[in-house]
């Protein structure tokens, strides 16, 4: 079974550190009246505070994003001794914990600090605790360790989603289909420069699948007879798989506003999708990419009459980050955004919309006519286009009412199924654009607003949307440091990406 990126949850351990004064006294850090200065008062009050902490956690943590572990209670007294058993108790099952949420007051910050120094786990102080958040976050951070604090439970919940996205990234295992090499295709020289660094930095793993072996497996036959793997039992499609191909074709055709290609050719592309699912499972992977031009030039895609555009669309609909052109940067951005937003993302070539002598400079068939049909906007425009939109752009759990059609990629022979999506139906939609820099040291996190779709009625890669951005010049001269494809997510997640960048040690460039 493919372990989906969106199923990743953050394991959070709440820890309460109580303080019990042993004797009656008052002074600069102990105050109260009468019985409030007795030992039992602290004993009972700790019990109340611990219960309130558990209640706050249960009521405020984003349970769709976190897995709350059993809370832990430890206590010290006003001797201020540091007990080894206390650390053993707090560190129970530490290998399963992703984040520690502490509640404590004065006289226990040293325990919080020592916990960070001992275990090097992300930890934070619950919101609205007097003084301890600033005292101890600064203390831990000054030692190069990870600590957080929040003004409210809402801010804490947002941060939990960000750390969950970081964990999802670390849980990403990309199946990279290869022909010439394992790091870039002949259209993606803006790919990540050093995948070993990416593995060390983000925890992402890369596993490789030979393109020719994959293509042989598209044929239903004795799996020991593939030319590339003679005598070895490969993962060929089966008759049962072909039933799934038919089922998917029925579903896609039934939901489409218009079908502009032969069913037989749609099924050939769906064979690619079904086979990729089997290979992802077999390779223990949950993300996918392949090098379009490298594979194209083998002529085998033409021979088998398919492209993998539809595979990318359906993968992303099914919470499997999947990018064109062996663009590994985009796969990772997709893993982040699909986990963070719970929405399927889109990706595309991204270019500034330019005018010369008052007329739009046409790019790949996108011109003034398409834009003018929807809007009079001319300033600060960008164009994003690719043939891998999907039906879950508004959310995995949304019952999408968006219209789509089916059309071929190949203009001449009519093969290579693509979902055609008129983005004009989402005009006014705010989007977040993300790309990781080739050196994996920066994030480009930008915002735009869809103005008009274009190309849904055509074939090939020529579909996408025009969007309005804040400042085209600023955007473009930042964009060129990151690379072509931008991953598009519906909604505004720039703040979350800034927080993610901070937690990953990346510079976040916004536009």
């Amino acid at each position: 079974m493919i372990e989906k990126i969106t199923d990743v949850k953050l394991n959070v351990r709440p820890v309460f550190i109580g303080l019990v004064h042993q004797y009656y006294y008052e002074g600069p850090c102990r105050f109260g009246k009468g019985e409030e200065l007795e030992k039992d008062y602290d004993v009972f009050m700790n019990s109340e505070l611990y219960k309130q902490f558990q209640k706050d956690v249960a009521e405020n943590m984003p349970m769709d994003a976190v897995n709350m572990m059993d809370p832990i209670y430890v206590e010290r007294d006003d001797w201020f001794l540091t007990d080894e058993d206390m650390f053993r108790t707090m560190a129970k099952d530490i290998d399963q914990v992703d984040y520690y949420l502490f509640s404590f007051g004065i006289g226990r910050g040293d325990i919080y600090l020592e916990f960070a120094q001992r275990y090097h786990k992300p930890q934070g102080v619950m919101p609205a605790q007097c003084c301890e958040a600033t005292v101890n976050t600064s203390a831990v951070r000054a030692r190069g360790l990870e600590a957080y604090a929040y003004r409210s439970w809402e801010e804490l919940a947002r941060h939990m989603r960000v750390l969950r996205a970081r964990k999802a990234l670390a849980s990403t295992r990309v199946m990279v289909v290869t022909r010439f090499n394992s790091s870039r295709s002949f259209s993606s020289s803006d790919n990540l420069v050093d995948l070993n660094y990416v593995t060390e930095k983000f925890g992402v793993q890369f596993r490789y699948q030979n393109f020719h072996e994959l293509m042989d497996m598209l044929t239903v036959r004795d799996p020991k007879t593939n030319p590339t793997l003679p005598g070895r039992e490969a993962c060929n499609l089966t008759e049962k798989d072909m039933k799934e191909v038919e089922r998917l074709a029925d579903e896609l055709i039934a939901g489409a506003k218009e079908v502009r290609m032969e069913r037989e050719k749609l099924e050939k592309s769906l064979k690619g999708y079904v086979l990729v699912q089997k290979l992802l499972d077999r390779n223990g992977c949950n993300a996918y990419t392949m090098p379009c031009p490298d594979c194209c030039s083998t002529r085998r895609l033409n021979h088998e009459q398919l492209t993998f555009c539809l595979t990318h669309s359906l993968n992303n609909e099914n919470q499997i980050p999947s990018s064109c052109e062996m663009d590994i940067n985009s796969v990772l951005a997709m893993a982040i955004m699909e986990n963070l937003s719970d929405k399927a993302v889109y990706m595309g070539n991204s270019n500034p919309v330019l005018y010369r002598d008052g007329k739009m400079v046409t790019m790949q068939g996108f011109g003034q006519d398409q834009l003018a049909a929807a809007t009079d906007e001319r300033e600060d425009l960008y164009l994003v286009f690719h043939s891998t939109p999907n039906r879950k752009l508004h959310g995995y759990k949304e019952d999408s009412k968006a219209e789509y059609s089916l059309a071929p990629f190949a203009n001449d022979q009519g093969f290579g199924a693509t979902i055609r999506y008129d983005f004009t139906q989402d005009a006014g939609q705010e989007v977040t654009l993300l790309r990781i820099s080739p050196d994996a040291k920066k994030l480009f996190a930008a915002k735009g607003t869809i103005l008009a779709g274009s190309g849904a009625e055509r074939t090939n890669c020529d579909q996408g949307f025009f969007m309005k951005i804040a400042n085209q010049e600023d955007f473009f001269y930042k964009h060129i440091n990151f690379g072509n494809h931008l991953v598009v997510t519906y909604g505004d997640y720039v703040k979350e990406l800034q927080m993610l960048g901070e937690s990953l040690g990346l510079e976040v460039v916004t536009a």
Binding site: L19, F31, G32, K33, G34, E35, E36, E38, D40, Y41, V43, F44, M45, N46, S47, E48, L49, Y50, K51, Q52, G105, I106, A128, Q129, C130, C131
Partner: protein, 137 residues
């Protein structure tokens, strides 16, 4: 005008709570219900709600009512009821409850277990615990 707007009002509640405590100390209660009846009077006196409330048993709700009543008081008088709060995040409701438990411990010579005091969220649950502790003396 609130009854507790004068210091004499406060003294009345203190007197009533002392009377209820004496009753709790000396009465051989045949059942939990009768214990709860006097305990409830004691709690309402402590929360300065005696005579104002008849069928509210939730301690948090009682504490809220008590605070609402208290803040109508002149500053000098209210000081006598409201203890200073630490920076631990304690609330008035928690404070009132903890002081109530301590008063019951001392008055009845019983010992609550810190393991379950946070779960005693209602006057009837406190009565059950007191009943149990009195009968295991």
């Amino acid at each position: 005008m609130s009854i507790i707007k004068k210091k004499s009002g406060l003294l009345m509640y203190q007197k009533k709570s002392a009377e209820y405590m004496e009753q709790l100390q000396t009465t051989p209660y045949p059942d939990l219900e009768s214990l709860h009846q006097d305990l409830y009077g004691f709690i309402l006196s402590k929360y300065i709600l005696l005579g104002d409330v008849t069928d509210i048993y939730d301690l948090t709700e009682l504490a809220e009512l008590s605070v609402a009543k208290t803040i109508q008081m002149p500053k000098e008088d209210s000081k006598q009821l409201d203890g200073a709060h630490s920076c631990e995040g304690t609330t008035s409701a928690m404070n009132k409850k903890v002081l109530l438990l301590m008063a019951l411990q001392k008055g009845l010579n019983i010992k609550f277990s810190a393991q379950n005091t946070a779960d005693l969220t209602d006057t009837r649950l406190i009565a059950q615990e007191v009943w149990k502790l009195l009968n295991t003396k």
